[in-house]
């Protein structure tokens, strides 16, 4: 008897725990809340395929990150050359992220060497050749440093994207790193997928470059070549009448005088004259100084505002601007201006990102899927319950009770582990309904066999459970192995399936072997039933 009550206590405890864990979710649904309000504040998460939303896998182009770093270093060396007034020194960026420097004249070579030793000690010298008094120096960065840049690029991209999404206003976004250079993003409930992708994927490199007004952009376009030191960039404008995109070529000096790195703020403002939104940006102290100098030195010249190699506008510099503020205009809609401000505030991505995988589910499909899933559970469950009662009579009822407890345990387990329920997950629950019956069938068949041999109900039940238990464990272990493998290798929805399948198997083992045994024992021992309806 002591054994008995101890077992009852354990079973009751397990069922109660599951119930407690599922209670918050039930309360949430009844009161239409979004977050659990009851202890223990855990809820069943719905996968993207059930609540709608977007799943993205991005890859950071880490190669480009190294490339940009080399570009930056090249610019810096050039700036130093100008500062020290070293003559006859030419720098070229060549493939494989290398810099080739050609310096003529002993004095220049000495000066150049000096700058290298003083300011650019991180560079690695690949080769040095002297031909006719010209020093050819090939440099790059050491592998370890390059690897570091790549690693940092992904980490930085992750942070920047997280910043942008935070400002976008998605509830419970999931942003994480996947491997060396991939980023996994899940945005539940997102409806405007285009806007989200634009916001996330834009490199957002803001540059201020002077226009090359000495040469003709149209000629450069015809020759498909820009004069040295300049590049051909386009401005894309949507003609409001024809709604077609018009591309205007601009010839722009390659060197960026100022970049978005110096921004401290970006806000949307409305131009009172044209009633159009624009983005007002503010530079930090250093940026403001550079901006003041640039505008002072280049009055009446045109300054192009370039974002991701696209010209947004190229206004004429009227006068020196000391305040460190500027406007970015471009025929924006409210939304476009807002998104641009978000991107500028969060900062540029260190390298471009490519979308490797996208899965978006609209909310209507999500809802349909839930309904279809629930219907299947109700009808499938009902059929099985009915069948068990018809075939095994009252014992069938006991098996049905086990089934219902199974579902409770699965739901409680999902809530407790904060696992995600997906559409395949619902299929997994339904599958377990069918397979859990197996354990009960094994036991009941054995009991019937034992009773046919003439044993008493109590003895038959005892023998039945004993014989069947090992077989049940054996059989379920294999499905459990399959479920665990699926969990390890599966992605999103499939993981959900593996979770419910595993929980279902464990639950059915518990209910079939322990719980139903208790019910039988209670009926036969305590209630002293003489016959067994099976």
């Amino acid at each position: 008897m002591k054994n008995f009550s101890w077992k009852v206590a354990v079973v009751a405890a397990v069922i109660l725990t599951a119930f407690i864990y599922i209670l918050p979710t039930i309360e949430m649904k009844l009161n239409g809340r979004k977050d659990p309000a009851l202890w223990p504040y855990k809820k069943v998460n719905l996968g993207l395929d059930l609540q709608g939303g977007m799943h993205l896998v991005l890859e950071v182009d880490t190669e480009k990150a190294v490339e940009s770093t080399m570009e930056r270093i090249t610019q810096e060396i050039r700036a130093s050359i100008r500062k020290e007034r070293i003559g006859n020194a030419v720098l070229e960026q060549i493939e494989n992220n290398r810099i080739l420097a050609k310096i003529k004249g002993e004095k220049s070579i000495e000066q150049f060497q000096a700058i290298l030793d003083k300011e650019f000690t991180g560079l690695r010298i690949l080769s040095r050749e002297t031909n006719d008094g010209v020093l050819n120096l090939m440099m790059d960065i050491p592998d370890k440093e390059a690897d570091n840049i790549k690693k940092m690029a992904t980490a930085q991209a992750l942070e920047t994207i997280r910043n942008r999404i935070d400002q976008f206003g998605v509830s419970e976004p999931d942003i994480r790193r996947q491997g060396e250079r991939r980023i996994l993003i899940q945005l539940p409930g997102v409806k405007d997928t285009k806007r989200a992708k634009d916001l996330i994927g834009k490199t957002a490199l803001l540059e201020f470059k002077l226009l090359d007004e000495a040469n003709d952009p149209l000629e450069a376009e015809r020759n498909e070549k820009a004069p040295p030191g300049s590049e051909l960039l386009y401005q894309e404008r949507e003609d409001p009448e024809t709604r077609r995109v018009v591309k205007t070529p601009y010839l722009v000096k390659k060197r960026a005088l100022l970049t978005g790195a110096y921004l401290t703020d970006a806000k949307v403002e409305i131009d009172s004259q044209y009633n159009e939104p624009y983005v007002s940006i503010k530079f930090d102290k250093k940026g403001a100084r550079i901006f003041a100098r640039v505008t002072e030195e280049n009055v009446k010249k045109r300054l192009a505002i370039v974002l991701d190699d696209k010209v947004y506008s190229a206004p004429v510099i009227q006068e020196k601007i000391p305040g460190g503020e500027a406007r970015i205009t471009g025929n924006f809609t409210d939304e476009e201006a807002r998104d641009l401000a978000i991107i500028l505030r969060a900062g540029a991505l260190p390298a471009p990102v490519n979308i490797l995988e996208e899965r978006s589910v609209g909310p209507s499909l999500g809802e349909d899927s839930i309904n279809k899933g629930l219907n299947s559970i109700y009808i499938g469950g009902f059929l099985v319950i009915l069948f068990m009662v018809i075939y095994y009579r009252s014992s069938g009822l006991i098996a049905d009770l086990a089934l219902l407890v199974n579902i409770l345990l699965i739901a409680g387990g999902l809530a407790g582990f904060q696992a995600t329920l997906t559409l395949p997950g619902i299929a997994g629950i339904i599958l377990t309904i069918g397979m859990a019956v197996d354990a009960n069938v094994l036991i009941f068949e054995r009991i019937r066999e034992e009773m046919a041999l003439g044993k008493t109900p109590h003895a038959s039940v005892k023998a039945g459970y004993e014989r069947a238990t090992l077989t049940i464990l054996d059989a379920n272990v294999t499905t459990l192995i399959a479920a665990l493998v699926l969990f390890q290798f599966g992605t999103g929805p499939i993981k959900g399936f593996a979770v419910t399948l595993s929980l279902g198997i464990l639950a059915s083992l518990f209910t079939a072997i322990i719980m139903t045994r208790l019910v039988f024992d209670y009926l036969l021992i305590n209630r002293k039933m003489k016959t067994l309806s099976i």
Binding site: T478, A482, L486, F497
Partner: protein, 347 residues
């Protein structure tokens, strides 16, 4: 109530020759279909590409849809009805894993609305780049490989009660696979090699129960994949999940029968093997029929009510359950007999 009367004695083993030919025929058809179709029909998950699920608010003509797609240069995409005809849902599939960043789904929606004159709802978009497609293919194969490995270890240990042999088994398998993988062979080849090695090891280590179970498993998986190929259904991630579940389920079945066989071998050691096997199958028949029935009822419910993706998953499960039950009786058990006959002949 009882479907199968106790004391029933159907001569299952007697019919094994017919079953053998049937199995060979099914396997042959499966392989032929796969060869004709040049492999399984990979879905977007494995082949890469873009899939868009659209729903129209009123009945639409497929040709209108196609001409609509043509206007945005997607004329080569395949368009298929999805689910019940009353739902007016279609799947648009193209091989290009188009950069979906350019407002793709909007373009498609607008083009379709103009071409068909109906309101359209973009229900789902799936874009898988070629790299990710390749990754998923590999993951799927590895999943099947590891499942096979662990199940092999478990069966060898549990069945033959020879944990030592099962350790040797596992060790041998892992060793061979590692050495092969250093030769930079493709993953499917590796998996096939692993299977062959497994069977060879079973033979040498005399693990006859394990061999019977694994052969039955392979039989089930190949025929399920073959049926999918015949019906020209797509292979996607949920289908792999279905295959792994079928593996687990079929093994369940086989284990139940084998357990009985071993129990009866001990009890009735005077009987010949085929009589014992028959007796065991008959004794477990009730349970086999019942479990298959209840699981089928549940899976058929999914098939009918589950909606598009679950529908294909349920189809795979139905085929798997039927074949799995069949194979426990007519593939796994006869192998035990064949083994015994082989051993007798060797003496």
């Amino acid at each position: 109530m009882q479907f199968i009367k106790p004391g029933i004695n159907i001569n299952f083993i007697g019919g094994r020759k017919i079953a053998f030919y049937l199995s060979i025929a099914l396997l042959f058809i499966s392989f032929s279909s796969l060869i004709i179709h040049k492999g399984p029909r990979y879905g977007v998950d494995f082949a890469g590409g873009t899939l868009i699920q659209v729903k129209f608010l009123s009945p639409t003509n497929i040709d209108d849809i196609k001409s609509g797609l043509d206007t945005i240069d997607m004329g080569k995409s395949s368009v298929q009805l999805f689910g019940d005809p009353e739902e007016n849902e279609y799947l648009i599939r193209t091989d290009k894993s188009v950069s979906t960043g350019e407002g793709y789904s909007h373009k498609v929606g607008a083009a379709l609305k103009t071409a068909t004159g109906n309101d359209v709802d973009i229900r789902r978009v799936e874009m898988v780049g070629p790299q990710v497609g390749k990754d998923l293919r590999e993951k799927a194969l590895f999943a099947m490989f590891y499942a096979l490995l662990f199940i092999t270890i478990y069966i060898s240990g549990r069945f033959e009660s020879e944990w030592f042999k099962s350790g040797v088994m596992a060790g041998g398998l892992i060793f061979c696979v590692y050495s092969l993988s250093s030769f930079d062979v493709s993953i499917p080849f590796l998996i096939a090699a692993a299977l062959v090695i497994t069977l060879v090891l079973f033979w040498f280590l005399k693990l006859k129960y394990a061999m019977g179970a694994i052969v039955a498993l392979l039989h089930d998986v190949i025929i399920t994949v073959g049926v999918f190929s015949i019906f020209d259904k797509e292979f996607s991630l949920p289908i792999i999940a279905a295959l792994l579940t079928i593996i687990g389920y079929s093994l369940n079945d086989t284990i139940i029968v084998f357990d009985r066989i071993r129990e009866n071998l001990k009890k009735y050691h005077k009987n010949t093997l085929d009589v014992t096997i028959n007796k065991s199958i008959n004794e477990t028949l009730n349970r086999t029929v019942l479990t298959s029935l209840t699981t089928l009822v549940v899976v058929i419910t999914l098939f009918v009510l589950g909606g598009g993706i679950i529908h294909d998953f349920a189809f795979a499960m139905i085929v798997g359950i039927v074949i799995g039950t069949y194979s426990s009786i007519y593939v796994a058990s006869p192998i035990l007999l064949v083994w015994q006959e082989y051993e007798k002949r060797r003496k």
